[in-house]
Amino acid sequence: MNKLLKEKISESLSSVLPIVIIVLLISVLVVPVDTGTMIVFLVGAILLIIGMGLFTLGADISMTPIGEGIGIQFSKSKNIKMIALLAFLIGIIITVAEPDLQVLVKQVPSIPDMVLVLTVAVGVGVFLLMAVLRTFFKWSLSKMLILCYGIVFILAFFVPKEFLAVAFDSGGVTTGPITVPFIMALGIGLTSLRSDKGSQDDSFGLVALSSIGPILAVLILGVCYNPQGVAYTNYISHDVITTQDVAKLFFKELPTYIGEVLIAIVPLFLMFILFQFIAKRFKKGQIGKMVIGYLYTFLGLVLFLVGVNVGFIPVGYLMGSEIGASNIPWILIPLGLIIGYYVVKAEPAVHILNKQVEEVTKGTIPQKAMQLCLSIGVAISLGISMIRILTGISILWFLIPGYVIALLLTFKVPKIFTGIAFDSGGVASGPMTSTFILPFAIGACEGVGGNVLLDAFGVVAMVAMTPLIVIQIMGLIFQYKTAKMEAENMGEDTLLLDDDIIDIEEDLDDERDNDQNET
């Protein structure tokens, strides 16, 4: 079979299999799940595996080259105002197209839909604009983040507590699986033609800044509108008896997701056509390949979303609520740690992030290291969320110290790690989080009898926060190790100061001449 195809399938298999096995184990040992729901889950998992493989293949072929291409064209242009305007428009377009935004809108009924959508879109547009300008003017990412998060936390005190969780969730939610590869590629393209020292560092940080936009936008709206309540839709379980019921369930949801993914991909596709028309960067063969890449991305994401929304949400919710209501609810904490560790492996955008980090750093930060850090980070975030659900501690007790630590770390850590860390926050909170982790948390909360809006919804915000700390810690370790290695090599320095050049060819010719002269 084709080598690349095999690679992609084995990659997505190894990402999704762990969580499937864990769910199976839990269903056997702790929470019995009716066979109907289990079969739906397994079918969902299969769709996930195929979908993820297709999606990552497609994103590699289409999203990444387009984003990079646009970034490179931007970096070559001298017209800063035009670039700023384009970045702003791109930010708005990709946000409006993001399907998760519609979900967010439903959660906040007291703010008119259009107002919310436009404000969030404008928020992302403004911040993408600033992120692009940052790569031109070489502004410090650390200072920008501190300023923005500072404003966020000041505003946080003026909004009702229930609203806070939703506001933070919106940051993670709006940087979805389609926008993330594109924005990341944009960042890489913007700096690829630079040869200065900071170029690698500056290629990251765009997703980070774009994630703050929605948070600020939602908070500002919260202050203005003073919403009375936050709504969430209850999970309806479907009765599945025969295999036909299973098929019917999936097919019923298919059109919805086809529509959603179309809305998300078509603007990007149009952007591609427009860009190609203006810049004529890609050759005929490449264009054909990229169109097919878009097709793969579309198909892959549809399969993934259908699988995860139909198959995973019910199971997540069921497990959470059963365990929460049982007489050993504390088991939620270790379970949360395990689930969190493995679930982030199945996030499609995480694969793309890890790959791009490895590429940009030329292997210095390998994919395995990134995956480990993200897994540890999400595991901790889920563990903490479970503690919050069981005890009702306010999210601010974790968010504020967490972000303070993350922001303080930016001073000590090599700049590239700051960019990667804050980018990965937006990436880790993706569809898997909202379709498995969140229902699990909501179910657990209802089972325990807590306040869903206060305790469960902050889980996405936690998932978006812990990678910031863990990856920067990896940066510290990396810095320490490099310093140690350099200190070890110092001893041999004396001979390395020699400037002589040895010309081997001349030596050989001389030797041959000498030999000939001698004989």
């Binding site: 084709n2 080598k3 293949l57 497609g58 590699d60 033609l193 054909g288 097919i292 050049i501 081997i504």
Partner: protein
């Protein structure tokens, strides 16, 4: 002893393997005890145009470079060939280039790491050296420096004259302002470097075809050169 020590032949070993095997090659280099090894990332080209269109054509590669004293080349090559199973098709290729000059610390470091055993082997090697030089090279590596995006076109042309496959690395043209003045044409900054390993007999045809179709005056703005290759592994030519 001191005079012979300084006249040591060096080679650059270049290995092209799948991206996920890159680390393995680096580990082998480290375990065999070299100090100077580097890694590049590139893409390989595939034979089928249909596969290329479907996006299943190119695969990611790691290109590992290593500076080795000549008498250790076969040791290195054989270890890599064995560990990466290069006797099987499609597992990667490796080749060595002669090094004509190096700055002193490199040789110093290599010498410092040698012990009595290797010194004796080296002395024997020195004695056999005149023979080796006269055997000549059977392979060449054709290197094309072309504008970004044209690697696939250039590769198709190369295939029509017998090239099997190539590896593409991204590159960047520096010092553009001078080039523009000299050549009088606008120079694109983004480049690709295409490396094609070929038998010595074919390289002339390949270079001629590429220069004809994708030369400097064309859109591709291609510059072609060939380097002599000493040893090769993993090719079934």
């Amino acid at each position: 002893m001191k005079e012979t020590m300084i006249k040591m032949r060096l080679n650059l070993i270049i290995t092209v393997v799948d991206r996920n095997k890159g680390c393995k090659v680096m580990k082998i280099f480290k375990s065999l005890g070299t100090h100077w090894h580097y890694m590049l990332s590139g893409e390989g080209t595939m034979n089928s145009e249909m596969m290329e269109l479907l996006g299943l054509g190119t695969s990611e590669k790691s290109i590992a470079l290593c500076i080795v004293p000549h008498f250790r080349v076969s040791e290195f090559m054989q270890t890599i060939r064995r560990e990466l199973r290069m006797d099987m098709k499609g597992k990667g290729v490796g080749f060595t280039l002669p090094i004509s000059g190096v700055n002193h610390p490199i040789i110093q470091k290599i010498k410092n790491e040698m012990n009595m055993e290797t010194m004796k082997t080296m002395k024997k090697e020195m004695e056999q050296m005149t023979e080796k030089i006269t055997t000549g090279t059977q392979y060449s590596v054709v290197i094309g420096i072309i504008n970004q995006g044209y690697s696939e076109d250039v590769m198709s042309t190369a295939r029509t004259v017998g090239a099997r496959g190539g590896t593409v690395v991204r590159a960047r043209r520096v010092g553009i302002e001078d080039a523009v003045k000299f050549l009088g044409i606008s120079v694109q900054e983004e480049k690709e470097i295409l490396m094609i390993l070929t038998a010595k007999e074919s390289r002339h045809d390949i270079m001629k075809a590429l220069s004809h179709e994708h030369g400097i005056a064309s859109e591709t703005h291609g510059i072609y050169l060939s380097l002599p290759v000493e040893e090769v592994m993993g090719l079934d030519l």
